[in-house]
Symmetry: C2
Subunit: 121 residues, 2 copies
Amino acid sequence: MNIIITNNTNQPLYEIVYEQITTQIITGKLPAQFCLPSIRGVALELSISVITIKKAWEMLERQGFIYTIAGKGCYVATLTADERNNKRIELATAKISSSIGLMKSLELSKADIISIIKDIY
Amino acid sequence: MNIIITNNTNQPLYEIVYEQITTQIITGKLPAQFCLPSIRGVALELSISVITIKKAWEMLERQGFIYTIAGKGCYVATLTADERNNKRIELATAKISSSIGLMKSLELSKADIISIIKDIY
DNA sequence: TATACTGTGTATGTTATATATGTACAGTAT
DNA sequence: ATACTGTACATATATAACATACACAGTATA
């Protein structure tokens, strides 16, 4: 597992952590049944409070990415390749959707947007 | 001038207002020297506090979109077509950039992203 | 010309919510 | 018993949003 905190934006810490774990589960980097490191361990390593990590873990559980056994640990849930791919598209779509409105207001065409993406990527 | 508040997301009110004014200035809907309605007027119309509107107006001024004459009002700054277009690209690029990182983490190719955009737009 | 009035933006102080924290508690394995 | 897990509670801090009172510019009018 691998988490990198580079808080350039003002995105909440728990959300950053949450996003990084989900992507790693979706891309298969974290396999089913994988036992996540303890929230204390992660908190210590990232110099972040236990609570913040727990909040991220809670979101992960609510979204069905992990399951928890109190006193033991947290494990990556079993997801089929299809399920993971659906989550991937769902996440990506949601993220892009939030920008599309502004693009339209700016009177940018579909082609304009694609051109910008080609530049950035 | 036209502002619509549909606070579906948890984007701050002042930011929503700010974004809508900038886009209208960038697209030329609000011409240079145009006198914005008083912050009191806007606040009343949108059922929002004066402070919230003032905050949006402050951001607009800081970004060079408007200028203020105390006691008189706030006016749209003079921007060339080029300057407006630069702002447009700048804004769009910033917005999309914030999503691209996640896309890459999800191992989505440039083509994947473009395909998603074509679907949404 | 002085004064009062009405419009503008500005500054002060308050409240609610969300982010992030530390510390003490409870379950499970060895 | 001990050393790990996750959990719950109370709390500080920052931000968003608010109501209200203030200061300044323009204009009418005595």
